[in-house]
Symmetry: C2
Subunit: 189 residues, 2 copies
Amino acid sequence: MKLLEQAIMERGRVIGSDILLVDTFLNHQVDVFLMQEIGKEFAAHFKKNQIDRVATIESSGIAPAAFAALFLEAPLVIMKKQASRILTGDLLAATVRSFTKGTQYELTVKRDFLPKGERVLFVDDFLASGEAAIGAKKLIDSAGAVLAGVGIVIEKSFQSGPERLREEGIELYSLARIASMQEGQILFH
Amino acid sequence: MKLLEQAIMERGRVIGSDILLVDTFLNHQVDVFLMQEIGKEFAAHFKKNQIDRVATIESSGIAPAAFAALFLEAPLVIMKKQASRILTGDLLAATVRSFTKGTQYELTVKRDFLPKGERVLFVDDFLASGEAAIGAKKLIDSAGAVLAGVGIVIEKSFQSGPERLREEGIELYSLARIASMQEGQILFH
């Protein structure tokens, strides 16, 4: 998606060789017009997958996912991050490890909000190691719903996430695919 | 706002005398069409206030605030919740206490994302004790920006927040104003 690649080049900042800071337009200050276009693009691509609902993880995924849900005419479900596993009967949970931060959290969702048999599009801001997306798939699977696709705003293709998702047979569509970020230079696929 | 009051009556649930659960359409499962209408309503009301940007707090405020920003043609800024105060030079912070949960967090925002002199509309899902809105005002003030209004989806008028905001001279616009929730019965103003 040209508009997004342009935003990354003009408003993003590379730190080291694997951190991309996009807090000027995606996850702290948010360009809502760009989010609307992103939502349209996800909806256009995944319309064929007969999506019943969109799921994302708080909080950076919410803005792009909300617009995707709007254009797919579907409800949105926000999966929550919790520091520890405090489970009540109606809550599903999966442990997600963050390799870059060296932390982990419990990804949770109310079972009622992933109805059995429904086709779910998972949307997130970044795909790196794929831990979050795999965690989301676990929740969707254990609810008896179907992960019908994963839509990613920015994919770091040089990390393991894209390959892991393909191995799981998940349809992945990333709007910007970064091949490398060596020496502060961003190369797209 | 009739559509919102209807959603609260039909899809909300009262727990005890002061907790309103709206996770079926506002803060876990999200009705994005209702969020779009909420955004339109905030934009129509606050257009006269010459809003330069919209601010909210992660993560339940993001969906309604994103649509308000879209219709006001303004960028959105997401203030972050942190467990502890780890401050870098470019970060502003204010402590926010949650009376209901007995916890506190640091509300933070990058100074750059609240430019001096800009007129900011703060949008949030709930107004109860007003702690979050007062914390947001502190950040906006210390950045040298101007809090030009507060837009709330659901106000608990029987708690102290509305009065506290009025005392601070803040223009408050709440889309649903709950007068009481005695015995599971929701009464609107």
